[in-house]
């Protein structure tokens, strides 16, 4: 997966909340078109970053065995546009998690300034709709989670270090 709209998790509490950062940089090619001479981080990509933060948090709750997809942006409010040099801090909390999906609230801050507020609805796709057992190849998913620091900062619901789920480790190992 190259569609990374967060750089790293800085906090991750299983089933409850997570924080990730996104550094906005002039090295991102799309900022030169959005807009020429006036680079602004597209708000849609802020939503994507918050969805990645919240989606991985929701997926971890079920050991990454559900096929979690962003189903709906229930609410999105932006207070200003992020520009190169800004560090966006995405904080998400799980409002509710069900068998069929989850509702997650999130904010984006630059320093103390509230940049965006969202509420996102995630759905768990059935295997028949998704067309496969997993949306990600297990080895790639595990590599991505490690890259983002999920297991470095992650804590389980008892506050103990978060371990790689045995099922994911086995699936990734079987592929390697």
């Amino acid at each position: 997966m190259r569609w990374f709209w967060i750089d790293r998790f800085t906090q991750f509490e299983s089933g409850r909340s997570a924080t990730a950062v996104k550094n906005v940089s002039l090295a991102e090619g799309h900022l030169h078109d959005h807009f020429p001479g006036a680079p602004l981080m597209p708000n849609s990509l802020v939503i994507e970053g918050l969805a990645q933060t919240g989606g991985l948090l929701a997926a971890e709750h079920n050991d990454f065995e559900e096929r979690v997809v962003l189903a709906k942006v229930a609410k999105a409010r932006f207070h200003f546009s992020a520009t190169p040099g800004d560090t966006l801090v995405y904080q998400v909390t799980i409002d509710d998690i069900h068998k069929d999906g989850a509702i997650v609230s999130g904010t984006s801050h630059v320093g103390p300034r509230l940049q965006a507020e969202v509420q996102l609805v995630f759905a768990h796709l059935s295997e028949s709709v998704a067309g496969s057992k997993s949306l990600f190849d297990p080895a790639s998913l595990l590599a991505m989670l490690k890259l983002l620091g999920v297991f470095e900062v992650g804590r389980d619901s008892q506050g103990k270090p978060l371990n790689v789920p045995a099922s994911l480790l086995a699936a990734a190992g079987n592929q390697a």
Binding site: A71, K72, K75, D96, H98, D100, G101, I103, V121, A123
Partner: protein, 129 residues
């Protein structure tokens, strides 16, 4: 303690305002979820989540929207629900008024059936209001 009908209505209204981004005044008892409030298929998942949370109830899949009947060849022929299928719908959806739908039971129109009042009646049946 059982909720009153007014409490049910207020909470259903709140769930629909949040899920559909509509104003409170638009959520009248007669308003149709799809036709008047602009609900799309994915919104129903959102609505179910919010009702479950607001009332601390479980809404099994297919109970509020019995999609299994509408996709069952036994109950649908040429895009219309058969008399047998209508009986099934009536049995499964005592909270909904199927009179108009039964007169011309085109499956496509089914999504536009439910009103705010139907949702309230459904919740009332779950919480004993």
């Amino acid at each position: 303690m059982a909720a009153t009908k007014e409490e049910v209505y207020t909470k259903v209204q709140g769930a629909l305002v949040d899920a559909l981004g509509v104003d409170e005044e638009e959520v009248t008892p007669e308003a149709r979820l799809v036709g008047d409030l602009g609900a799309e298929s994915i919104d129903f998942l959102d609505i179910v989540f919010r009702l479950e949370k607001a009332f601390d109830i479980k809404i099994p899949r297919g109970e509020l929207f019995p999609e299994d009947i509408l996709t069952n060849a036994q109950y649908v022929q040429n895009g219309r629900v058969t008399p047998e299928g209508l009986k099934q719908l009536e049995a499964r959806m005592p909270f909904a008024d199927l009179t108009n739908f039964s007169a011309n039971p085109v499956v496509q129109d089914f999504g536009n059936l439910l009103t705010v009042q139907d949702m309230c009646r459904y919740v009332e049946s779950k919480v004993g209001a």
